[in-house]
Symmetry: C5
Subunit: 297 residues, 5 copies
Amino acid sequence: MQTRPPLGELGLNSGKKTRLRRILFRHGLKNGTAIFLPYDQGLEHGPRDFFANPQASDPAYIVRLAVTGGFNGIAVQIGLAEKFYWDYAGEVPLILKLNGKTDIPSDAEALSPVHASVEDAVRLGADAVGYTLYVGSPAQERDFAQYRQIRADAHRLGMPLIVWAYPRGAAIEAKGGKDSFYAVDYAARVASELGADVVKVNFPHPEKTSDVKSAYRAEFSPAQAIDGVVRSANRTLVLVSGGEKAGDDAMLTKARLAIEAGGLGLIYGRNVWQRGYDESLRFVDALKEILAQHPSE
Amino acid sequence: MQTRPPLGELGLNSGKKTRLRRILFRHGLKNGTAIFLPYDQGLEHGPRDFFANPQASDPAYIVRLAVTGGFNGIAVQIGLAEKFYWDYAGEVPLILKLNGKTDIPSDAEALSPVHASVEDAVRLGADAVGYTLYVGSPAQERDFAQYRQIRADAHRLGMPLIVWAYPRGAAIEAKGGKDSFYAVDYAARVASELGADVVKVNFPHPEKTSDVKSAYRAEFSPAQAIDGVVRSANRTLVLVSGGEKAGDDAMLTKARLAIEAGGLGLIYGRNVWQRGYDESLRFVDALKEILAQHPSE
Amino acid sequence: MQTRPPLGELGLNSGKKTRLRRILFRHGLKNGTAIFLPYDQGLEHGPRDFFANPQASDPAYIVRLAVTGGFNGIAVQIGLAEKFYWDYAGEVPLILKLNGKTDIPSDAEALSPVHASVEDAVRLGADAVGYTLYVGSPAQERDFAQYRQIRADAHRLGMPLIVWAYPRGAAIEAKGGKDSFYAVDYAARVASELGADVVKVNFPHPEKTSDVKSAYRAEFSPAQAIDGVVRSANRTLVLVSGGEKAGDDAMLTKARLAIEAGGLGLIYGRNVWQRGYDESLRFVDALKEILAQHPSE
Amino acid sequence: MQTRPPLGELGLNSGKKTRLRRILFRHGLKNGTAIFLPYDQGLEHGPRDFFANPQASDPAYIVRLAVTGGFNGIAVQIGLAEKFYWDYAGEVPLILKLNGKTDIPSDAEALSPVHASVEDAVRLGADAVGYTLYVGSPAQERDFAQYRQIRADAHRLGMPLIVWAYPRGAAIEAKGGKDSFYAVDYAARVASELGADVVKVNFPHPEKTSDVKSAYRAEFSPAQAIDGVVRSANRTLVLVSGGEKAGDDAMLTKARLAIEAGGLGLIYGRNVWQRGYDESLRFVDALKEILAQHPSE
Amino acid sequence: MQTRPPLGELGLNSGKKTRLRRILFRHGLKNGTAIFLPYDQGLEHGPRDFFANPQASDPAYIVRLAVTGGFNGIAVQIGLAEKFYWDYAGEVPLILKLNGKTDIPSDAEALSPVHASVEDAVRLGADAVGYTLYVGSPAQERDFAQYRQIRADAHRLGMPLIVWAYPRGAAIEAKGGKDSFYAVDYAARVASELGADVVKVNFPHPEKTSDVKSAYRAEFSPAQAIDGVVRSANRTLVLVSGGEKAGDDAMLTKARLAIEAGGLGLIYGRNVWQRGYDESLRFVDALKEILAQHPSE
């Protein structure tokens, strides 16, 4: 177990620090932790994700939920940001997701193409940008090239950069899959080495040991694994994502372990909005209880 | 059944709103609905589409038809726009189609290359631009890259962006084909997520259920399907395209269902001009009767 | 049989109209028709094309032939333009061919790379630029991308754009080959849709019906075929190319049919200079007799 | 055995000479030799490299080690440079590594994509930039293209350019592998021909003679091999890298031979920090003893 | 046998003419002929080319040889130019070679990537730039694209452009190989059509007739072949390269035939420096005797 690094030690320039401080200390629990609402599944998976709760198909419903639920931010693509954020501008921080893709073609050489710019984020009043990096994809050359431009623009404009660091593609499938401790640990480190301010990772599965690098074939508890991931990210703040909807207990445990390991917080989407409005808010309250116990200094 | 979203709620900037208002309230029925005449088949399929009515090979004939028929706009490529629109400039809105391709090479990795710019559209006095996005194509990376530039230019110049959102390529063929409710619904959502102002879709076929994602294997009526598509597009206005020439009754039904579901209107080409001049005008009148019953507020 | 469209109806800007008028009414027969001398075979096929008449290997010989023969223009690549045109500058219009390739690698995914710019053409005093578009090639994406830049530059600088519209590549071979009426008709239309001012096509072979689209499997005479092609090109002026050397009677017939169909004129190379100087001039005179009978109004 | 070329003969511009002089004569032994600490393994191999000494996972630990150990520089990626160097700025020279990759995808067509710029290096106060060139990779075309930009920027901004010249990819595997004298000798020469100021090479293995070019199948001692490599690099200064952790004696011998051959110095990472702090410092002292015996004039 | 074209007829702009005149009339024999020393083999083949005469590994040795031997120029890559030319600046003209590659990967789709710019050449005081064009390579599209930029920059900056026109790649191997009269003749023509000022070719082998185009299957003497090549190059001046070291008599004969055919001169590297210093100079003297007999007017 380790301490979450304070904002003042991250080497941030003035704009990034201003915006991160706004996200972490003026919204949500205002205690230096974070819970974000991601809403890019309509692009990533299609409208089928909304069948469990048809109201969730309406972006206005989701923005309202983010405001009412006291989230630290909502992450959407450019189209929804332009059409829906204006009505709630400033009530909840906007994280503009700059790249994304459909899940129709194969993921063997996964790459998430950019379709918006950091300038778009500035224009819309966003407080951060999001970028999906498919760590280990055979397309990493093109991925790094487009990432490089985003990183440079985010630095220039003082915009915090949140990297969705996802192991993906044929090569990692052959080395134990995208969820192993090895894969997630490596992904967190890559985000840190390449200059992410915040990294979003899936919770590691240390029990997935077949085909992973030998160092990761030892026995690690989930707590040890997430602790290692946060350590690998060093001064890049760590968010744990929810992934597909699962049982609430499992989700709360994941949240608790991540926060105890020094993580910044959570970014849960389908686990939040694939249920009724009130039930969503109750679940968010339970998550915030965990965050409340681990304020930043 | 849902309401068509009003222009004032779409988050449009001043230029886009000005031009869309002109298209929807100063042309056609002037009631907030739209019927467009697309004429890019000479590029997309070749002159064979004109054999049914050889006069239709002449762009001057088509522009005259658009003016006389009281269309809300005519969509053509840069070459025809430059050579034929000057003579009717301002009589019917011009939608400059910015990309297109021949149907000679394989569609397995379909991509529609750009050959004109938003600046060209401004110069020619166009009121909107059109872009074909092949949703789910293995070439989506390059597709999104060129789309991104168009979207940014359209925003900068206040030019409404109409996206031809067409599922296409080997991957969607393996997942139920390009016409399924699943495919069309996803395509509409992608256009919305990526910032289209208007989306053109084919009418969904909910009965095509083999190989589609499980959520779409239930029984949906055509009305339910088009309603879902319009919902997925949320604040992106929906146009239903005609496709190949079919029976008038089928086309009128498609039109009625689309409008009742909250769609913006129709974009019918071959179904209009693959018949004699007067017959074309009579068919357009029948379509406009449907539109007249569903004005925007 | 149709009328050749007058310059005033083509939607040309001032620079394009000035230069086209110069080519068509100040050179050659000065009657609105055109006969051009293409000389890019040294690049496209190599010096072997000059073995039939070794003098033709010398570009100075060819430029002299173009001047003496009263051509409306000579089409060459940048290298020959820079080394040989200065000595005859202004005596015969220069058409700078902007792209080209060797015939050594396979044509399955044919693309003709650009190696000169419209600015080069302006600097050299050219009156038009030429671009080879391989219609239907699997490389059409890259082809359209480089074409787009040329088209935009030609518009900006008022330079007429002549498109060599050649069906080419594995896909068209599988659909009846590059010479069919279907292929040539489609190619002419593509040039028009994409903004060519003039299009150069091979004479269509309506008798090649196997594997072509069904609409083209009917019986068409050569006259009907070339008439269809000119119609498909609409306000893009049509040049018929000579291709490999053939019998004079066949070449004269081709020329006559093209002109009667409303074509602008001819662009014959090997058929002209793969014989002695005087014989070349006599053949050109015979071609001009045909052109003289079909002046533009 | 040859003499290390003096700074004044390398054809350096003023900025490069200033920074190289600072690195070589104001830090480390201040005698014109160099020992660098590379720390990009978290990106290149993942956190597994830190399992031998978990403290080494923390970049702050490593920077402290570089300062205390009296290194001539520390080489890190942009992310760690931004987050950790500020606290030690100026205490040890920073070498910003501009490209890098994970080792998850195949190395058959190895390329190390760029993710930071020479401008980033200037902004952070770095005294040199690093670039990995995969000599002989089938991707050499794209490699040279990105290298070219870096070289030009480094020249323009007076920033010394250190090239990690690594034979890599399927082609060199088929020609004796990446460690042969042939491969390393060629790599050193390529860096020199392409304008590197300093080149980092692996120690050559002259005993690997199968499949190498015939000239290299003779018997060469390690001393002869490293001497040849330094000669091939001519006025590009040579650093020998440590590679995977090996026995101290072997590492010291490698160091001695390299320095005696006229090399500039060493760049040892895992051999330094994959052990406890004090032991690291003791090993560095042993290396520096060798360097002390071969000062530049 | 033909006359070498005079500088005044080549259509050169002022800068190109100035620099070519300096190379041809102020250096070497000062009689309008040329002998160049190429030294890019360290990149193209690796240090193994220097094993025959280890001193030749040192670029300083080679530059001295070029000065002492009275060459018209020395052709090197950017790295050696920056590190070694400053000491002899102006004593012998510098030809900056702008592209190059290793011979490690396959040549089936050969392309020589650019790693320096015409601006670099200007900055270093060079009097010409060199570019390797792999005529007929399946990569010709990318080759022409990078060539185009070089050609345009060379024109803009008045820098003579020497093209190494080398048939290469799988396609030419299938058409008789890279050395046939057909291949070399075509390559010379391509350089001329694309705007080279000077072209470097290998001496053609007219006896290699299998698989070449039929026109080249007749019997040609070496004199006829090189005469044809010079004719195909027309106003692009022709240099014959030496290639691998061969017998002196053969090299002298090649030289004599090339000059008698109207060639500009020679560019011999390994045949010069793969022997001792004095022997090199004696061989150069023998070559210059031939050049002395064919001055330009």
